[in-house]
């Protein structure tokens, strides 16, 4: 082939690169490995991730849910996972129809009118929601609850730092754990949005409607974030409580924990803001013979057309993860999603009741919860959890000191349908045993 293109050596392929820029030695990356060796290496590394095989009560933005076997099987169809963005609809209808179903499912779950084809994850979806609120309202102040996931808050901070947006924080009630509408004192006609999370970072379910009313009273939008998307199965849909933008982390829908990614940002809005939404949208279309098909649509919002004036810079999104979530949701159906949600809530209630009954442990927050709750230990939580892991082989939850140095004894416990009663009892036993 070199001959055919008139070259004598592979080097000549790079003759347009000035020779002083050419590498003279091979890269110092590891020598080529065979499959056997490579797999053994990654297996060994996996063994060093001790938490991956341990009963776990970690949540806080990433959740252990059961994923039906067919989910991972179907996303491995070559036709899905080795295709790209459906730029050519005639030859990408599989992907397009799946996204259209995804958008519909997200609308149904959130109670919203329009959903996009996905964002990177919950945190970046929230940041984009804040930017969108500014575009929609042309106001520059955004008031954010302190009970939003701390890492989400950090991401929002990063995204808006050069966007001329003032972020203000408002606090939650120390007794209930809910953000207090009363704390929303600074709302005014410069406020673009009020941003909350429900269930919030501490597992407390917010009074979304009350907060929506407060926001709407000054003409601001209510942005609701959800990190535990399975809660849609049991909790009132934000769209029926006044939310204007709902963003969520979709990882709960059958996506592996995978040390934090790839996950799935859900983004849903009211129809009137459709032309301001970031990301891709799939819409219905017909061909000349009237046959239904699907296409990428409203592309004029996007970077490849609008460049710096686009609603977002996003291009590659989370396609395959959105497909996995779609398959998960369609397999589980309304009953399944509800049953998972109910089991999560039931098991969390059981765990909370049993832990609360332990000598020395309290639950500092009183608000209704879904499947996460804060526990206050009689000792420093990080140390307690480390001992629980080492001595009882249980990951008991997240020490809140990671984000809140002023809460040394608190930890966040998450219970899902994958935690058996035996595991919960072992957790309770372990906490009790390590303290007494």
């Amino acid at each position: 082939m070199l001959q055919k293109v008139g070259l004598k050596s592979a080097e000549e392929l790079f003759s347009s690169i000035p020779s002083d820029l050419l590498l003279r030695a091979p890269l110092k990356t590891p020598a080529a490995l065979s499959e056997i060796e490579l797999l053994a290496g990654f297996e060994a590394l996996g063994q060093r991730n001790a938490a991956a095989r341990r009963p776990s009560f970690l949540g806080a933005g990433a959740y252990s849910h059961y994923s039906p076997t067919i989910v991972d099987h179907l996303i491995q169809r070559s036709e899905f996972f080795t295709a790209y963005t459906p730029y050519q609809p005639e030859i990408s209808q599989g992907t397009l129809q799946a996204i259209f179903e995804f958008q519909t499912l997200v609308c149904q779950l959130t109670g919203m009118e329009v959903a996009n084809a996905s964002m990177y994850d919950g945190s970046t979806a929230l940041a984009e929601a804040v930017l969108m609120a500014e575009r929609v309202t042309r106001r520059s102040k955004v008031v954010v609850s302190n009970a939003v996931h701390p890492e989400y808050l950090e991401v929002v901070n990063t995204y808006v730092q050069h966007a001329g947006i003032d972020l203000e924080r408002f606090d939650f009630d120390a007794a209930t754990g809910q953000t207090a509408p009363g704390a929303l004192s600074s709302l005014d006609d410069k406020t673009a949005a009020v941003v909350i999370q429900s269930p919030n970072f501490f597992g407390c379910v917010e009074d979304v409607q009350a907060l929506a009313d407060r926001a709407h009273a000054v003409g601001a939008l209510l942005v609701v974030t959800v990190t535990e998307a399975i809660s849609f199965g049991l909790l009132r849909a934000p769209g029926t409580c006044g939310a204007d933008i709902v963003v969520a982390e979709g990882q709960s829908f059958g996506i592996p924990l995978s040390f934090g990614g790839p996950y799935l940002g859900l983004f849903a809005i009211l129809e009137r803001y459709a032309r301001q939404i970031p990301g891709r949208l799939v819409g219905q279309a017909v061909d000349k013979e009237g046959r239904r098909g699907f296409v990428l649509t409203l592309a004029t919002r996007e970077q490849h057309i609008r460049r710096e004036k686009a609603t977002s810079n996003i291009c590659t999104n989370e396609g395959l993860i959105a497909l996995a979530a779609t398959i998960y949701l369609e397999t589980m159906g309304p009953r399944g999603v509800r049953e998972v949600a109910v089991q999560c809530a039931q098991k969390a209630a059981y765990a909370a009741r049993r832990i609360a009954a332990l000598e020395g442990f309290t639950l500092p927050f009183t608000a209704p919860r879904f499947n996460e709750f804060v526990v206050r230990a009689p000792v420093e939580a990080a140390g307690l959890l480390a001992r629980l892991a080492g001595e009882r082989n249980i990951t008991g939850g997240l020490a809140l000191s990671r984000y809140y140095p002023d809460r040394p004894n608190d930890f966040l416990v998450c219970v899902t349908e994958t935690n058996s009663r035996r595991e919960i009892d072992a957790l309770v036993d372990g906490l009790n045993g390590l303290i007494s």
């Binding site: 080795t82 890492e151 009132r236 592996p256 239904r292 296409v295 949701l329 397999t331 589980m332 399944g336």
Partner: protein, 509 residues
């Protein structure tokens, strides 16, 4: 008599698979869960009625497991994919996605690891991240690497924010406020200006020369104004040419007090051959889902590492993953950091795959892949030269652009050629990008294709060129072999239908 009509059956189940919502049958389920094994709390005690949803998730589909399997298996057949053949989308690097990497990503110790596990409990994963950082640093010649960004555009945003943070730190907030111009060539990908805008920069466009390279004269002029923060350059650029003046370009920008951002989407032309860091580039993003073979997945997920010089490293997102002797840990103590760009650590699953790619290839394999990718593009460039106009003379690197100039004289345009290619069994190339080329057809074969198939592709393109002359209506009406024909995108955008609705609801609306 039209033989298609008599033999074509319109009720074919695979060809007519409906939306899943239209298949829903009340009461059908596709899941099985264990029974609740704890004492049940009365529902009202669990959650006040006012907080519970009342709609029972109405509208969500009720189907069986086999319904789901058939639904997705059927609609999957409507897709083209890399595994079916050449997928020559320029700028997208549609290379083979190794199954071994998929297996690696599913190893329980990795796939089942919670991102908030303690450092102690996640040493394996932190090592994966650390090693990949090291390798990408070696490949790019840049010292600092963050794997946090989730895709190329996200990496761009991160990189541009680094530039801003660096300038603010260097010049002081007040002085740096005067430097708010980001130069971007007219041939750049749309994400470049969009990312620059997100970081509060004003975009100024640099022209390309007739040879398809950055216009140095124009660059000098723009740099002379004293307000530039930097330049975002793709290299090889989006017409597939190496910016041979890259060192000079970097010098000009640096002398003007700016920094050079390189869009690394085209690194498949350079890995193992030349390094951006050696060229004077300050920041780059990579697309692991292009150069490093992680699957495109119908539009993602990606992973868009941001690599930068030592000077910019303090500004990278937190946490950094660092090594102390044999232990890996998260370093949050970076006071100059631009902050977090994503919860947790980025798309870890993609990092596993990319690391597996690097380990599978080894240094020689990485270079050989680059050579094959460039050779294949050259081969296509050569093979199509007689039938299509090439806007630029120079031999291309890993991708080659053609225009529809010659064909459009007969009324056949790039879009038509692309659609006709479908009938020949290929996915179309990237079309109408870059914008500077009239009716651009940007073809990137990658290394994952043999000569036999390149010849088939060339033959198909040449055959279409002949059709464009002899039977243009054939090309204009294409594709002829797909389930559906060209869709009316304009109508779809005018009155967007963005979700399914039940028939009653839909008609009521």
């Amino acid at each position: 008599m039209n033989s298609t009509n008599i033999t074509k059956v319109t009720t074919h189940p695979t060809q007519n698979e409906a939306l899943i919502f239209e298949r829903s049958q009340p009461g059908r389920v596709g899941y099985r869960l264990p029974a609740l094994d704890v004492e049940e709390t009365p529902m009202d005690e669990l959650l006040p009625a006012g907080l519970r949803r009342e709609d029972e998730l109405a509208g969500m589909p009720e189907v069986s497991e086999v319904d789901v399997i058939r639904h997705f298996t059927r609609i999957s057949t409507w897709n083209y994919s890399i595994d079916l053949g050449l997928y020559p989308l320029g700028s997208c690097t549609m290379k083979y996605n190794s199954r071994l990497n998929e297996r690696v990503a599913r190893i329980v110790g990795h796939a089942g690891l919670h991102p908030l596990a303690t450092e102690e409990d996640s040493q394996g994963a932190l090592q994966v991240i650390y090693e990949l950082q090291q390798h990408l640093s070696e490949i790019t010649g840049l010292a600092g690497v963050s794997l946090q960004p989730a895709a190329g555009a996200h990496g761009e945003m991160t990189g541009v924010m680094l530039i801003r943070a660096f300038i603010d730190a260097r010049d002081g907030e007040g002085a740096s406020a005067q430097r708010r111009t980001m130069l971007i060539p007219d041939s750049a990908h749309g994400t470049n200006p969009a990312s620059a805008h997100l970081s509060g920069f004003n975009v100024k466009t640099i022209k390309s020369t007739p040879e398809g390279l950055t216009d140095l004269q124009h660059l000098r002029e723009l740099c002379a104004r004293g307000d530039i923060a930097g330049l975002m350059l793709t290299n090889p650029n989006t017409v597939g040419l190496f910016e041979r003046n890259i060192s000079e370009i970097c010098r000009i920008v640096h002398e003007a007090g700016g920094l050079v951002y390189m869009d690394g989407a085209n690194m498949n032309a350079l890995v193992g051959v030349a390094r951006p860091g050696d060229m004077g580039v300050d920041v780059i993003h990579l697309n692991l889902h292009k150069t490093f073979s992680t699957p495109h997945g119908g539009g993602g997920p990606g992973c868009g590492p941001c690599c930068c010089t030592k000077e910019l490293e303090p500004f990278l997102p937190v946490p950094r993953i660092v090594r102390d002797d044999e232990r890996y840990r998260l370093d949050f103590d970076r006071p100059q950091s631009i902050g977090r760009v994503k919860a947790f650590f980025g798309n870890f699953g993609m990092m596993l795959r990319a690391l597996s790619y690097i380990q599978t290839h080894g240094p020689d394999g990485l270079r050989e892949a680059t050579e094959a990718a460039v050779l294949n593009a050259r081969y296509i460039a050569e093979g199509l030269a007689s039938d299509y106009d090439k806007p630029f003379e120079a031999p291309p690197m890993h991708e080659v652009v053609f225009t529809d100039k010659r064909q459009s004289r007969k009324g056949v345009h790039t879009l038509d050629i692309a659609k006709r290619l479908i009938d020949y069994g290929f996915h179309p190339m990237t079309i109408y990008f870059p914008l500077i080329v009239q009716g651009a057809m940007l073809i990137e074969p990658t290394e994952s294709v043999g000569r036999q198939e390149l010849d088939q592709f060339i033959e198909a393109m040449r055959s279409i060129a002949r059709e464009a002359l002899e039977t243009p209506e054939l090309v204009l009406g294409a594709p002829h072999t797909t389930r559906i024909g060209r869709l009316d995108e304009a109508a779809a955008a005018r009155k967007p239908v963005l979700r399914w609705k039940p028939v009653e609801a839909a008609s009521a609306a």
